[in-house]
Amino acid sequence: MTTTTPYRSETRLARDGFAQLLRAEWTKFRTVRGWVIGMVVAALVTVLVGILGPVGSSFSCSGPNGQSCGSHTPPLGPDGEAVTDSLFLVHQPLAGDGSITVRVTSLTGRYLDAPGAPAGRGLQPWSKAGIMFKESTTRGSAYAAVMVTGANGVRMQHNYTGDTAGLPGEVSSTTPRWLRLTRSGDTITGYESADGTKWSVVGTVNLAGLPSTVEAGLFAASPGYTVTTESFGSASGSGGDTLATALFDHADLQGTKPRGTWTGDDIGGQGGGNSPVTGFQQSGDSFTVSGTGDIAPVVASRGSLSKTIENGLVGAFAGLIAIIVVATTFLTSEYRRGLIRTTLAASPRRGRVLAAKAVVIGSAAFVTGLVTAAIAVPIVEKLERDKGLYVFPVSAMTELRVVAGTGALLAVAAILALAVGTVLRRSAGAATVVIVAIVLPYVFAVASVLPSGASQWLLRLTPAAGFAILQSMPEYPQVAAAYTPADGYFPLGPWGGFAVLCGYAALALVLATFVLRRRDV
């Protein structure tokens, strides 16, 4: 009896590690001319559409009083963001540490320039009056303030973006509010009280680099109102100024007072220094202060002369369409040509094939998006500045997030398209589904085809939420504004929106792996 050894091939197994798979897929990608052209088209179209924006925009600087364009430029706050700093401030210098206390018994408002103004008393939810320590009367200087507001109770705010809530409720003669600010070095503490005896802390802020002498005083401000009329396909806003008037008494400034007398200043005066409506009256320790404007960060709005940096990336949706087409055909063309059989015979672990494809197409899309954004954002910014438009300054981190986010948006969308292509195996169907799911809701929202409520829901639920990663301006609860997608604000915020897109991509990838494993080739 002879024992037979089973036949073993002498040929060594080919290396089938993930690196080899990646190399194979990368070779496929770079050698198909149409795919490389698709990536170039994506970049070109994005940049060109971005450039069309400033090229097709114009405005004239001949204001009613021959104002120069420079006056449209908002001041910058201590943290470098664009701010509104318009208020009526009754102030005097305070050297070193000290405190200011006051009682507010009334806050009322009215609409200015009456024709076209809505009916009602004109007090805005964020009309505000209170006490503040301010670095100087220069617009954009550092400050800390504690105040009563039209509909948001007592607040402590500082340096335009900081906002802490205190006692709720409206102020009136029967429910007055006592406010106090104390300075100890760079630390400023805000207090509130309903009766002037029991005090509680609203907040404590640290204003680093505050000069030893600050302006301490009482202020009033009232943001303008806007009425947005939405019609199908367009939206238009009208608005105007409002005036807030506050009654203060028991005003008491403790500390070293180099001057000792109160003066009033219409800071950032929209009505000019001698406006008939803003101003103050003093009688002993009682003051009546009327002011207009707001002390808050500037928020972006469509059609304004101020542009956000992501304005240069408005063409990203067109680039996205090209990327989606490339990514779907990256797999479906293998089915069409039968190459998929060779691919899966050479590498039977199908999940890894899909992973390699996702890595290759994702990386290619990421690099395309990154390079595109790095070119488009500065070019469009420069064109906008040359046209006399104002571009909101943002931090380097935000700019980096927007530029890298463009790459990430294209990459995740490409992976989603690849996965949908794997499931459907037909390029036309897959491309249509992904384009309609990602691009259409965005088009609806940004071109304001739908009412803003409907488009906000679309940008929460559909993969189009991912466009939020391009949003450079944060929403501020203490600034009343429309915050619609057309203004540049997404309902879920940059990371939340991007997470929705990633969720869709992950889901599609899991489904694609499952069907690729289960199905015959």
Binding site: F232, V325, T432
Partner: protein, 265 residues
């Protein structure tokens, strides 16, 4: 020599048979109707009119679904051409019928016929949805809105124009597909063309440029046919807008036809 109409009739018959027996066709036609009606109804439910002078166009609101339905129309038309290229069927087609422009014309006729039917169903159902939903959202007589009625001239024009709009989108897609041949690329180009102009129009602040972009974009111009109120403030006269889209479609078909003749299959 056979008369030309025989070969044309044959070409029509052939294309009809091909399109009829492709599994995707019936589903795509169903998708045209379902997507259009679903979005139209959703739009009618989402839009409310708070009082007199709310400046909304009930015809536009209840026909908003066209903007999604057109994607399915584009896919149907693209597949009628690109489907043959992807399977190699196109070589058989051209061997049997060497007059390539006749083939394209037959495809255009058959696709138009199918879209016409599906589009009519979709538009009628959308108008019906608008008729049922809109009065509950403040589109009432006291706010200055009459109930939607196809007997009303502008509404009839909006409805019929929407059907024609879908047909023209189909023809535009057919032409683009004949130019680029690849299905996904054709879909990308068609949807890109449709969506590009509204977005660009929304970022330019110069009103003259805004008008111009609204006037030349195939989607924004073509949908001008849906306007029934404030006709004076529209960038385009309704039929003029549809004419612009027709020029786009004709241009795409001409380019496609010329390339079919010039290129190898």
């Amino acid at each position: 020599m056979r008369p030309w109409w025989t070969s044309t009739a044959e070409a029509l018959h052939v294309e009809w048979t091909k399109l009829r027996t492709t599994t995707g066709t019936i589903w795509l036609l169903f998708a045209v109707v379902a997507l259009t009606v679903a979005l139209s109804a959703a739009s009618a439910a989402a839009v409310t009119c708070a009082g007199p002078g709310c400046d909304r166009d009930p015809a536009k609101v209840s026909l908003a679904g066209i903007t999604v339905g057109q994607a399915a129309v584009a896919m149907l038309a693209v597949l009628a051409v690109s489907g043959e290229y992807s399977t190699g069927m196109i070589r058989v087609t051209f061997a049997a019928m060497p007059r390539r422009t006749t083939v394209l014309a037959a495809k255009a006729a058959v696709v138009s016929g199918l879209v016409l039917v599906a589009g009519t169903v979709a538009v009628l159902a959308s108008v019906l949805a608008g008729l049922l939903i809109l009065p509950g959202n403040g589109f009432t007589a006291e706010n200055g809105y009459e109930a939607l009625s196809l007997a009303d001239g502008p509404v009839l024009r909006a409805a019929a124009g929407s059907v024609l709009y879908l047909v023209l989108i189909g023809l535009l897609s057919l032409g683009v597909a004949a130019v680029v041949r690849d299905a996904a690329a054709a879909i990308g180009i068609v949807l890109g063309l449709l969506y590009l102009f509204p977005i660009v129009a929304s970022v330019v602040s110069d009103p003259e440029w805004y008008r111009r972009f609204q006037q030349i974009g195939p989607m924004s111009a073509g949908l001008a046919v849906q306007a029934t109120v404030n006709l004076g403030s529209q960038p385009l006269d309704p039929w003029e807008g549809l004419g612009i889209l027709a020029i786009w479609a004709a241009g795409a078909l001409l380019a496609g036809g010329a390339l079919l003749r010039l290129r190898d299959a």
